[in-house]
Amino acid sequence: MSQAPATEAGAGIPPPHYDRPRPPQELVGLEEVWRLPKGWRVLSAINNSVVGYLYIGAAFLFFLLAGILGLLIRTQLAVPGNGFLSQDTYNQIFTMHGTVMMFLFAVPAVEALGVLLLPQMLGARDLPFPRLGAFAFWAYFVGGLVFFATLFFDLAPSGGWFMYPPLTGTAFSPGMGADFWLLGIGFIEISAIAGAIEIIVGVLRTRAPGMTLDRMPIFAWTMLVFAAMIVFAFPAVILATMMLEVERAFGWPFFITAKGGDPLLWQHLFWFFGHPEVYIIFLPAAGMVSMIVPAMAQTELVGHRLIVVALIATGFFSFGLWVHHMFTTGIPMVSLGFFSAASMAVAVPSGIQMFAWIGTIAAGRLRFATPSLFVLGFIAIFTIGGLSGVMVAMVPFDWQVHDTYFVVAHFHYVLVGGMVFPLFAAFYYWAPAFSSRPLSERLGRWVFVLMFLGFNLAFFPLHIAGLLGMPRRVYTYPDGLGWEPYNLASSAGAYVFAAGILLFVLDLFRNLRPGGPPAGNVWQAGTLEWLPTGNYSVRSVPHVEGRYPLWDRPDLPREVVEGAHYLPRSATGVRETIVTSAVEGEAQFLMRLPAPGWSHVVAAIAMAAFFLLLVAKAVTLALVCGVLSIAAMVAWMWRSDPPDAGAVEVAPGVIVPTYVSGPASPAWWAMVVLMLVAAALYLSYVFSYLFLWTVSPQVWPPLSRLPDAAWTWAAFGCLSASALALAAGDRVLRRAGPPILLAALVTFGLLALVGAIALDVRAMSAAGIAPTRDAFGAVTFMAPLLQGQVTAAVVVIGLFALARLAAGRLTAERRVVFDTLRLLWLYALGQGALGLALTHGFPHLAGAGG
């Protein structure tokens, strides 16, 4: 297709479709159930349009705040010997600049765009767990604001955004700054994971009928890969932050060399997250470009399937790159070679995408509006960043430029080029889908010119400063080293770039008008997010038959508004969305969605308070907030899992159930993703255990000092008893047996699960093993700690299930709560057994071998 086609304009609508006009009460009913709370109560809203908006606004606020920090950095470095900032303030500022940009801007910004765009793009009324998404937003926003505010009290972390120990251990960072980083960022990562679960299940299960994976827009593919990467990458850094915080608070020496720990363990875990993180940020931005380019060139994306291949391949390869941040740590040469090779291999899929965009631009006629300018700016800047990336992937070159401004220049080219420019393209491109006025073209061009010139002036000279030997993280430098002109130019460029951002903010104030009817499809784009919408998303959900439904059927917007397609009404009188099969997109189930409320807001704020009060060592108050948070979650979940409302019609001849359990239910999918998160965290732990053993086998005890095997077998016995109780309970529920028997089995099973941990700890203590003595003790006691975490979750859900059983809300048919409990319980049993095998079994092997 070369131009937006007008084929089949007069053809009739393919079945299934409703006759028109539709009865007017249908629209009234839809508007009623999806109505937003009025006034300030809108903060209790969970509609993706509201939460997505707030989410993007918050992420952009953090972009501005961290950008101001960047300007302070460049002001300080403009001239040699500058006394504008003290060394300690400078250290806090550059640490916060990196941390806030990465954790509070980049990841949340793309997650926010996902929340805002995905449901409309996929033809869903909302994401499958709207309250979870709203919870993730509030947790991030409140936690992020408090974290940022530490800067004003001289309490901010100062150890660099990657927080390497031993610098960040208690010996060298005795203040609270590092603790704010560890608990604050750890907490915000939990919110990112919650968002990722929402996005995975949303993309796989709530697409419009007929939207097979092959017809799914590239942005949805990138969000799927993005979320999957979060699931596997973030747990590594969560484990690392837990270990460093436990070391700081309780003296468990994971990273202290004198006691058999190793600071390199932190680097491995951090970069196992940190490198995929770069692609976690870049892939969704690439997905935005893959949506914008076809619309601006008015032609289908060239190499659609190849791009999908490239996205998945990038997702995999990016996990084989982490050691390239550690080329100078003395790792054996061949290993460096493996990572160097993988670092070059990952350039291949990025190249595929680049050529696909260039091919699409060449195949169509590019309209030179602001989004196109930002896309072209992205292509230019990101290519330079990619090429300097291949340079630093070469080990010898990296040894020369490691920790110099060359690396700073490289990653700003990658991150600003690869993420900020596409994001601004996205702002200009999608604004008319949500605002009654598009952003200004005239201002937009100026924004682009200032940002593009300013960026290159700010960062290109830094390559040269780096090659001349200027190290990173210095708060000032002496005169006469030849770095002066590059630094002065860079600082000037930073201000030009900032002027572009300022102009953009002005454009937002002048033209962004959310709330009213959106300006609509001003670019003549072909994907579903450009259908006319109300607070209920689309009036009726179209049956998708191609990758560009609006180009295939120019009449589609009118048909959708008139209610000709799926679900032109609320079938059950509450909010609902169609759940489809993961691959083929067949309508399977009508999922009822929750209504607005405050419980998730309370849960999020209380949880943020819990973590931050822990830093301030206000333990009692922290525990009160923790209990309040869990209580709010229970209140929120109590109304979930509504009873079966019978089968309903979503389109003529298409009848679907309103209640499913097991693998058909979205809750089951979400729990499976959560289990993957937990498993990734535990595998990072197993890696840490074995890593510390290879570094310090001397702290592993001889056979004579290992725990008595009787305790080990008793712990295994507890796990087995717990498993049997679970299996029996499942049987009782399936056969609608006596609830009292089920309650007894669940209670006994939970007690056995807790008992296994107690026996594990008892066994270790009896053998004289202590977590504070050496790295062996620390990493050994980490197993019951992690097991305790999962077990606590199982116990809370178990008690919840018991309460629902007592209230008659858990039955043989209405059993999603039990299914969810069962999955996590099974996972806890597996993790517990693996932990016992590792911490009780492996020392025998090590002792016998060494």
Binding site: V334, S335, G337
Partner: protein, 101 residues
């Protein structure tokens, strides 16, 4: 159907397995078995992975599988093959168990 979609990921999964094995084995093999053993291990594992991916590629190419999953699978297996060969190269060029100098 979901099973078929997952099957398209076998190529990158094989690369991941090879990568993990050759990297993780270096510290252990060097500790207990010596440099030659590690080199043999890397080359054997890489050859096995390359063969497996080639077979996978041919099967998907010939059409034993159908639809989107198969065409994604072909592309992913091709990229995985490149990455597997690339990953094996350092073991051919550089000495095993040697610290960088």
């Amino acid at each position: 159907m979901t099973r078929f979609a997952l099957a398209s990921l076998y190529g990158p999964l094989l690369w991941a397995a090879q990568f993990l094995l050759v990297y993780a084995s270096e510290s252990l093999a060097c500790k207990f078995l010596g440099a030659d053993a590690h080199r043999v291990l890397v080359l054997t594992a890489s050859l096995a992975a390359a063969l497996a991916v080639t077979i996978l590629l041919l099967r998907q190419w010939r059409g034993d599988m159908h639809g989107t999953a198969a065409s994604l699978g072909v592309g992913l297996a091709g990229l995985a093959l490149v990455a597997i060969i690339w990953t094996a190269l350092p073991a051919l060029i550089l000495p095993s168990c040697a610290a960088p100098t």
